[in-house]
């Protein structure tokens, strides 16, 4: 038996190395399945929780155009959550089970969404920085080894491309506006910069799951690699906004051809993950409330569908009798 298990393991790794996609019915190590369920569901939860901080501003958007953009964007996040939950469902876990894990606090989601959205400029900063960071994480996931996850990510990335652009454009408008708008813009960048660096996860030497995920090609770049890429990208883009990043240590390093940046406050990261962020409780409560308030709706729809199906089959039986 052990020998078979080893053989299967080897064949599995071979397929991964040959860049063949693993599909739901294929043999896979239990740990691979568990890792994927954890990662995909976390990703899905992040999309759904991520609707809330931006959703705050749908009713306060300052123009009809911005309102439409924001509404469409937050709705896209619901779609992304749905695609990702579906991908996880192919691994044998139901969406309801994943919700239970989220609601009970067992499952995590991206800690960035536990920060508050305090001004309109936060809509721009989230689009530019948070979605910008997310995209760097997500683009390599389009080639991740598990087929349904890769397919979901292709769809997500296609839709996501307008999110970052609208965010930057929103900030650009503010940066060209009045003094108070420029302050709003800088203030939002100040508040979202460090949390968005934390989105890439712990430093490589403290990221316990990374090695196996790389071997299985679930992940293709390390946390620090992606973080560096992000810093290099944003440090250039911010020049167009005439704003500054809140990091006195940020400097171009001629030798490495990268930007050096200051120390991340990992204690804060840890605290937010453990539930002590400014909005952890509100976010989770809002999700639980939406779900519980929907109980009677989902149940009624199920019962109605069953009634309809019964009526239909009775009508068929009746007409069959008629024709006899």
């Amino acid at each position: 038996m052990d020998q078979t298990a080893n053989q299967l393991q080897d064949q599995f790794q071979q397929r991964i190395d040959l860049e063949q996609k693993i599909e739901p019915r294929d043999w896979m190590p239990e740990k691979y399945r568990q890792t994927l369920i954890r990662q995909i569901s976390q990703h899905a939860h992040s999309e759904i929780i991520g609707m809330l901080p931006e959703g705050n501003w749908i009713t306060r958007a300052p123009s009809l155009k911005r309102k439409a953009i924001l509404l469409a964007k937050v709705q896209d996040e619901a779609g992304h959550g749905l695609y990702l939950y579906s991908a996880a469902e192919t691994l044998g876990i139901s969406r309801d089970e994943m919700y239970e894990q989220l609601h009970s606090g067992k499952a995590k989601y991206s800690s960035i969404f536990n920060y508050p959205t305090l001004s309109w400029a936060d809509m721009g900063a989230i689009g530019w920085l948070v979605d910008g960071a997310a995209i760097l994480n997500q683009v390599p996931l389009c080639r991740t080894s598990f087929g349904p996850y890769a397919r979901a990510m292709v769809r997500v990335c296609k839709e996501e491309s307008f999110h970052q652009r609208q965010g930057f454009e929103c900030l650009l408008q503010l940066s060209r506006g009045s003094e108070v708008q420029r302050q709003m813009c800088q203030d939002a960048i100040n508040r979202w910069w460090w949390p968005s660096l934390m989105m890439f996860g712990p430093k490589d030497d403290e990221s316990p799951n990374s090695k196996l995920s790389m071997q299985w090609k679930i992940k293709r770049f390390s946390n620090d690699e992606l973080r560096q890429k992000f810093v290099d990208m944003i440090a250039e883009q911010i020049k167009l906004l005439n704003m500054v990043l809140p990091d006195p240590d940020l400097t171009w390093n001629e030798q490495t051809k990268h930007y050096d940046y200051g120390a991340i406050n990992w204690e804060e990261f840890k605290q937010v993950i453990q539930g002590n962020g400014p909005c952890n409780k509100e976010r989770l409560e809002a999700r639980k409330k939406a779900w519980t308030n929907g109980d009677w709706v989902r149940e009624a729809a199920t019962v109605h569908a069953a009634k309809q199906a019964k009526r239909k089959s009775e009508a068929q039986t009746f007409s069959a009798k008629e024709t006899q």
Partner: protein, 260 residues
């Protein structure tokens, strides 16, 4: 605030008032529906209702833009859709009261969409024959969206009316609350008459037939009260609209005259 000369122009021009009435209905209903985004009973339906809110917002924008164009032409003062949406106060909004009521639960929300969507459906069907080219074009575009809204909301009225005892009870309650606000939609006021005078009795009859057929399938009976609440079309609103506008217009009010 809107400039006084624009206000005065609106006060004496029935066509602008009518366009604003149509636009306000779409915007306020869209606003209410958009409050569900992120809080729906299941992801698929969260997305569905947001699609509806986006359609309604698009309709509102088309109508405001057209009204703004007319105002600009007539008064010579450059006017935008955002000024019309964000700088008018409660008394200047002309939407039906039904649109501004709070969402309540999912049942109340889908029922409101059904009652109002069905009305908009027959109204826009008539407006497709409008002599005003731009209004006709907006109606032609909107009717496809509204057809889907009616289909979607009628399906939900059926599911909840003919679902569980709880869902039925909630629908009965929602209907009791909303029914008194339906009459206002169907009784045209002065600025509506020039545009739908001959069709209004047909719209009313068609709406009543549609409601009756879905309610009978959903085994729902609407209240028989004759007394209907009204006033929204003339700017006499419920207390709810003030809060809605305070939230919606806050940035434009706090930082006047800026581009966002």
């Amino acid at each position: 605030m809107l400039q006084q000369s624009i206000k005065s122009y609106i006060q004496q021009d029935l066509q602008t008032q009518y366009l604003l009435h149509l636009a306000d209905n779409a915007l306020i209903l869209s606003h209410r529906n958009s409050q569900w985004c992120g809080h729906g009973p299941i992801l698929e339906q969260d997305i569905a209702l947001t699609n509806i809110a986006l359609d309604q917002l698009g309709q509102a924008r088309n109508l405001y833009q057209y009204a703004a164009l007319l105002i600009t032409e007539k008064t010579g003062i450059a006017t935008t859709e955002d000024q019309l949406a964000y700088l008018r106060d409660v008394g200047e909004f002309k939407n039906c009261l039904l649109a501004e009521l709070p969402n309540g639960d999912w049942g109340q929300t889908v029922l409101r969409n059904f009652l109002m969507g069905s009305y908009q459906f027959f109204l826009y069907q008539e407006l497709q024959q409008s002599a005003i080219g731009q209004l006709k074009a907006i109606a032609e575009k909107s009717i496809k969206e509204i057809t889907y809204h009616v289909r979607w909301s009628a399906d939900w009225v059926l599911r909840l009316g003919d679902g569980t005892a709880e869902s039925k009870g909630r629908m009965v309650q929602a209907l009791e609350l909303l029914w008194a606000y339906t009459g206002e939609m169907l009784e045209p006021c002065d600025y509506e008459l020039p545009f739908i005078a001959t069709q209004s009795s047909f719209i009313k009859a068609a709406w009543e037939a549609k409601i009756a057929s879905v309610f009978s399938e959903a085994s729902l009976v609407h209240p028989t009260n004759e007394w209907m609440q009204s006033g929204g079309k003339k700017g006499i609103h419920t207390e709810h609209l003030g809060y809605l506008l305070a939230e919606m217009q806050f940035l434009q009010r706090a930082y006047p005259g800026l581009e966002w």
